[in-house]
Symmetry: C2
Subunit: 268 residues, 2 copies
């Protein structure tokens, strides 16, 4: 079992990724696809007069400020425009895709953060009206039911809180928990760089292989979105996934490349 | 088996409908929910700078002009914002909802109209870049699979063409075909009037019961959206559904009311 997460950057080539997914499925590989949509959400939110805001936690992670209106726009883009575009793109390649959010069938369930600490102008403040959380339980029965009947599950945030609220969760970390719960042998995180870079954005400083023991150092080293990918990698390995590959989603056959050694391999 | 279609008018009370769905399910009823989203799509399309356009066929049916950009906005609203709001609303009531579009698992498949004839300024013209079609095949296996495992399917347009393109289809008629393919004993179409009115908008002229033989006359009589509801009713009856009820979606317990004789009953 392979879990593939496609990042939300606009430089990723969705057609080439879909081609490669279809090829892997024809070769008999079991696969689950997960996608993001951060960049397009920023654009649409701005057009709709509710521009995005990002907040930084005291430990340096950035995330989207998610009030109720942001959540609606997030669902429009992730679950509407992008998820259905993925499903359509895959059907045109003969793949019987079924798109679901983490709300559907309580696929991704976890706690909503009742209060989040953020740093603003150098001072810590607490937000209480944010709809953000974390995936703790995966309804892997529903994913397996679809796989067993020949469907390709195409999953996307948001998730659902234990109280039944839609919550914004990080897609890379949701993918990690999903890979763990399905006993996947690999998790591939496709992004718009060749992998983890020792000195971003210098692509010649690609780290080819990272041992789990190095991850805490690498999390410190990484900036922005990459920080959460490494955190996701760490969580996936802890959940029993054998290897995590951070790879380039802009090139032809990106999954075949990742599986044959390109990108950054994280594992023993 | 009961198929319920919730219209896309803003006057319908979604919370009261969800309460009633949850109550029927607790009482052991099998049910599939289908929803529209026309009014909100108009609003969002206007805000995004791509205002809606409606076209009229030579036989007097109006439909949304659906170019590729309209289809994207349509998916944002129907599959994103509204479908996920329905799923969340139902989960908060203890219903294990799974939201799907007609694209997912080729749930609603049919021909795309290669050319549509419309009347503009009194003259017939032909449009060739429209993504509109009709549902001919329902993947009732997928719906039954979800029902058997305790999930409530929550379905919404678009559908998928035989070539794998997303196509805008009428929700009422899709609900009719779905009810037929599931062998439903009733189809309830919830709308923002008490039922079919002899003289719209005079609610005192409600038609309590209509025999199938009267439907062609009633289609002539009806205007706008109601025309397609009656056409859907006709198609559902032809497909073996025993009764179609057009009922008020603004009131408490709208499904119980419809089942106990309120609204317009169409059947033998």
């Amino acid at each position: 079992m392979l879990v593939v997460k496609v990042g939300g950057g606009s430089a990723l080539n969705h057609d080439l990724i879909a081609d490669d997914v279809a090829e892997l499925l024809r070769a008999g590989r079991k696969l689950v696809l997960i996608h993001g949509g951060a960049e397009l959400t920023n654009e649409v939110a701005t057009k709709l007069g509710h521009p995005p805001e990002f907040v930084t936690s005291p430990s340096g992670y950035t995330s989207r400020r998610t009030d109720r209106r942001t959540l609606e726009i997030f669902e429009m883009v992730y679950c509407g425009q992008l998820n259905k575009a993925w499903v359509e793109r895959l059907h045109r390649r003969g793949v019987n895709a079924v798109g679901l959010s983490g709300l559907d069938g309580r696929l991704w369930e976890g706690p909503r953060k009742e209060a989040i600490k953020i740093v603003r102008d150098g001072r810590q403040i607490v937000l209480r009206d944010d709809y953000t959380g974390r995936v703790e339980r995966v309804n892997s029965d529903l994913i397996r039911l679809l796989l067993q009947h020949g469907y390709l599950p195409v999953l996307t945030p948001p998730a659902i809180s234990f109280k039944g609220e839609a919550i914004n969760v990080d897609g890379d970390r949701a993918a990690a928990v999903t890979a763990g719960s399905l006993g996947a042998d690999a998790l591939i995180l496709l992004t718009d760089v060749p992998g983890l870079l020792e000195r971003f954005p210098d692509e010649s400083t690609l780290i080819r292989k990272a041992h789990p023991s190095e991850l805490d150092r690498l999390i410190e080293l990484a900036g922005g979105r990459m920080k959460k990918k490494i955190l996701g990698a760490k969580e996936a390995l802890a959940a029993g996934v054998k290897r995590v590959i951070i790879a380039d989603g802009r090139l032809p056959r990106p999954l075949h490349r990742a599986l044959s050694g390109e990108g950054t391999l994280i594992g023993d």
